[in-house]
């Protein structure tokens, strides 16, 4: 293993055209409308770690995930995985080889498995696609092993997805992701469609698999508690921008960006610790017409003229004028470090 990060994302940007159809636009004399779903996002993921992207709806975290795995071409910027550019045309041959190692787990286990396929065929699809087995018996053997790995019975291969509960389906999806012997798994809200006790089973499974197989995760989640449980590094997104990247421990012990602080204060206090919290203000603006300057300024208690005018650059992992200028005060300990 080298020290070089497994994944390097630089200046990633994605613009969607959300204009009305051409004729409607001409009739209503409206200009084209674009939505900057992701705007200048850069981060690195080290081997074997869990990098989490958190944010609320419209933050662009899922768009980043889809660009990283290559399901969505970026408008600008570059994704480099293990030294191979996923966005550069020249690297096509090496990219094809790399593709096997990158897989994804989706949010809705009811939509991520083809309802007409047997579980065995679903898990076997990547094995066949990448020619990882010599004959049918080896495919079957591998499928059985994969199902065992995620806590299912190899005999389940003959069943259809609708015969399984949500949690079991998510296990099948994990088995499929691992079937290609991949080592970098992008997990897009893997447990948000599941009940809490099932969520616990899946999160435990994901951790066990990481320990056993040395997996690297990019975890997309809106649930800070899940992120707290899983992540080693956390990136906080707001309206398409990465506002803070810090080690997980620091984010929860001493959040720096005002938005991170607000987000933490918004999480219900399950431990009933009675920790002091600032009431949350406002809602996420319409991403089609985001606020000027720092997009968080209308909801930020520290905003001043400069925040309204110019977008902050990322300095030491935080994109905030107030933090850079030292106006944000000491990083407020939201709770005891390390719990």
């Amino acid at each position: 293993m080298t020290d070089a990060p497994l994944v390097q994302v630089t200046g990633l940007r994605r613009v969607f055209d959300v204009s009305k159809p051409w004729l409607d636009r001409v009739v209503a004399r409206e200009p084209r409308q674009t939505l900057k779903a992701v705007d200048g996002v850069s981060f690195e993921i080290r081997r074997g770690e869990t990098f989490a992207l958190v944010g609320e709806s419209g933050s662009g975290k899922s768009t980043v995930a889809r660009m990283v795995v290559g399901l969505l071409p970026p408008s600008a910027g570059e994704v480099v995985i293990d030294g191979v550019s996923m966005t550069d045309r020249k690297d096509a041959a090496r990219r094809a080889r790399l593709r096997r190692r990158i897989q994804m787990i989706f949010q809705d286990p009811y939509a991520s498995l083809d309802p007409r396929w047997r579980v065995g065929d679903i898990v076997a699809e990547p094995i066949r696609a990448f020619n990882l087995a010599r004959d049918r018996r080896e495919v079957e053997h591998r499928v059985g092993e994969g199902l065992k790995l995620v806590g299912l019975d190899p005999a389940d291969a003959r069943k259809f997805p609708h015969e399984f509960s949500g949690g079991q389906r998510q296990r099948i999806a994990i088995a499929r992701a691992l079937a290609a012997e991949s080592d970098f798994i992008v997990c897009d809200e893997p447990t948000s469609a599941l009940d809490v006790s099932v969520q616990a089973q899946i999160l435990n499974l994901m951790r066990d698999l990481q320990d056993r197989l040395g997996l690297t995760y990019l975890l997309i989640s809106h649930n800070l508690a899940v992120v707290r449980h899983m992540a080693t590094t956390i990136g906080v997104m707001y309206l398409g921008r990465l506002v803070e990247v810090s080690p997980a421990r620091d984010v929860f012990a001493a959040p720096r960006h005002p938005y991170t602080r607000m987000l933490l204060d918004a999480v219900p206090d399950l431990a009933m610790s009675g920790r002091p919290r600032t009431p949350v203000q406002g809602e996420i603006p319409n991403p089609i017409a985001p606020p000027s300057g720092c997009t968080f300024h209308p909801r930020c208690g520290l905003a001043d003229e400069r925040c309204r005018r110019e977008a902050p650059a990322t300095i030491e992992g935080v994109a905030c004028h107030a933090v850079a200028e030292g106006r944000a005060g000491a990083a407020r300990p939201a709770r005891a470090a390390g719990g």
Partner: protein
Amino acid sequence: MTPEPATTPTAAARASAWARLRDSDILASFLASKVTMVSAFVTVVMLAGAAFAPWIAPTNPFDPASVDLLNSLLPPRWVEGGDPQFLLGTDNQGRDLWSAILYGMRVSLIVGVCGVAIAATLGISLGLLAGYLGGRLDAFIMRVADIQLTFPAILIALVIDGVVRALFKGVAREHTAFGVLVVSIGLSFWVQYARTIRGSTLVEKNKDYVQAARLIGIPAPLIMLRHVLPNVIGPVLVILTINLALAIITEATLSFLGVGLPPTQPSLGTLIRIGNDFLFSGEWWIVAFPGITLAAFVLAVNMVGDWLRDALNPKLR
């Protein structure tokens, strides 16, 4: 409000396809509807009649040797002047009407099935391509579909018939009529399939199982065939049944107008056209029996189609 987990049947109960059918709501809704059961019975009897026509029919109406002009225009057996040899009477060429109807059903069905098969194949392929690939191809296919809808089937048939006649001047109409009919029906009915398939494809292609397949590098044509098609094909079954009835009517209309099959290989429509000439001279049976058969078959197939649509639609259940 319904309790969420109640709808998922146990894994064990799903052992075989037969057990699944026996367990399904579809069979229950079939058994609950008397009209559907009767319609299905009528459909099956008529299909069997058409399929086994050579064995059931007393004579072969396509065989000139078995036809005697002296027997022409005889009324049905129970009417005065009827010959016990001819159950439903005879037509102007002395053909046994009962046999002609059985054989005519056969011809009508073959034309209908082939026409619908062409329409479905064309429509499904174009709908799948338009929905999955999107963009300009989608816009182009769907505009063509819109234009297509402004031409009635009869007009298309007349145009094709004219073109074929001009191209194959020496060939007898008997040999071209079948092809002209099938292609006309195919070209008139594909739009409905294309629209339905395109709509479902737009939904399915954004589902994560398609994304998962893309992620492991499965090429687009394979994804369309293996993943998308099986999941969008359901509603097509309903259109197929209803379209079959429509296609048979269209064939009858075309044959009635003289663009269809020639009197030497009569379909139900041809028989009705022949009968129409004798309607006012009192020989009502030549038009009545083929007409009743056509109406009954179309009605029965439509009823089955309607039920299928309701039974497969989770919103109506």
